[in-house]
């Protein structure tokens, strides 16, 4: 990038900045040991994100993480760029899902869901289903965690939507990953464990998910 162009960008960013609030001091946050090319790239991406109303914090965090892990500069820049794309895609899905001005928390939740394997349509659908009193940020995080635990994105969506549609309390949503993990500890695969998870009644016997049978007596499941 030529000096003139760089200056122009800086000026443009400077013009936009007061509108979006505080620009994080990227160089200071990244620390002295971050290679200069990474600092420059992250600064540019952070400015761009802020200009679009997206949170820049996660980008800076990712760069700090890369530096701490000793990852080569090129790879760090690539990962930050991928995250920036995810944030943008998430914001788009949220807007088309009905949230006109998604805040940082729900955008990050959306990006997390995308990172865990859900696609933009699934994110959008989840947002649409999470009407009050359900918090879309929580629904997205729970879905992302279920996906991270090995449940397919489609089933993940079913589970969370089931929970919402059958009227489980919002705090019950937060329990879904633990319930899944409990079933997996009993020997179920993630797919098996996810079956009926959303619909499970709040008063199911502790430690025994519905349909639990002692080993040797379980009917074989079709995945």
């Amino acid at each position: 990038m030529t000096r003139a162009a760089g200056l122009a960008l800086a000026l443009a960013a400077g013009a936009v900045l007061p509108l979006v609030g505080q620009e994080p001091d990227v160089a200071a946050q990244l620390g002295r040991r971050t290679p200069p090319e990474v600092v420059r790239a992250v600064q540019a991406m952070a400015s761009s994100a802020s200009a679009k109303g997206l949170p820049a914090g996660p980008l800076i965090q990712k760069a700090i993480e890369g530096a701490a892990k000793g990852v080569p500069a090129e790879r760090v820049i690539g990962a930050v760029r991928a995250l920036a794309d995810q944030l943008e895609a998430a914001a788009g899905a949220l807007r088309s899902g009905g949230i006109d001005h998604p805040d940082a928390d729900v955008v990050e939740g959306g990006a997390y869901a995308l990172g865990a394997g859900l696609n933009v349509d699934q994110v959008r659908e989840l947002v649409r289903t999470s009407h009050a009193p359900y918090d879309p940020a929580v629904a997205l995080r729970v879905a992302a965690t279920l996906a991270a635990l090995g449940v397919s994105p489609k089933t993940t969506l079913d589970v969370v939507e089931d929970a919402i549609n059958t009227g489980r309390s919002p705090s019950d949503l937060l329990d879904l990953p633990s319930e899944l993990q409990a079933r997996i500890a009993h020997g179920a695969t993630p797919a098996q464990a996810a079956r009926g998870l959303g619909r499970a009644a709040a008063h199911a016997p502790a430690g025994r998910p519905p349909g639990w049978a002692p080993p040797g007596q379980q009917k074989p499941h079709k995945p």
């Binding site: 500890a185 009993h186 020997g187 430690g207 025994r208 002692p214 080993p215």
Partner: protein, 183 residues
């Protein structure tokens, strides 16, 4: 409880994981002596073996949910015990302590046939075994004291049969050298 003794390892593990901590005593009873000889030979004394087995059983409880195949609890417990024995030996080596305890040695138990010579040789072998590497000692103990086949040892320790044989054959030569004149 009589009935509990008939439960499989898998059933006991699942009962413990579901919250019935007292069931763990079944596994303790079942396996407390299974690897006692191995631990005693690896560490050179019954006292050390007791500590190691006790420690391994407690650790196995701590990590019970990580036991991927509850049917193979015994093998999994063995690996925990094995790690503990190897770590103990490394620790003693670092601290400069002798690897074989002179008192309470496992060698030469009371033999009613009164064969002093046998006892002496047995003691000499015991001391010689202590001078092998941990891996050589282990394969010798498992094969010639616990009577396991190479394939079984391979399955339990993760080593290949070929490498086990190599270690064993080196052990034979080393023992021959150490026991020259005793046999």
């Amino acid at each position: 409880m009589g009935l509990a003794e008939l439960a499989t390892d898998r059933e006991v593990v699942q009962a413990v994981l579901a919250g019935d901590v007292e069931q763990y005593a079944v596994l303790v009873r079942r396996y407390r002596d299974r690897f006692a000889r191995y631990a005693a030979r690896m560490l050179g004394s019954v006292d050390a073996a007791e500590d190691a087995v006790q420690d391994a059983l407690v650790r196995a409880f701590d990590q019970l949910a990580q036991c991927r195949e509850p049917d193979k609890f015994a093998g999994w417990l063995f690996l925990i015990l094995r790690n503990r024995c190897f770590a103990e030996r490394r620790r003693r080596a670092r601290e400069g302590r002798p690897l074989n305890a002179q008192d309470d040695a496992v060698a030469a138990p009371d033999r009613t046939d009164g064969r002093v010579e046998q006892r002496e040789r047995s003691g000499a072998l015991e001391q010689a075994l202590q001078k092998l590497t941990a891996e050589q000692r282990e394969v010798f103990v498992l094969k010639h004291m616990d009577g396991m086949a190479y394939e079984e040892i391979a399955a339990m320790t993760g080593a290949t049969v070929a490498s086990l044989k190599m270690r064993m054959h080196r052990a034979y030569d080393r023992l021959r050298e150490l026991l020259k004149g005793h046999l």
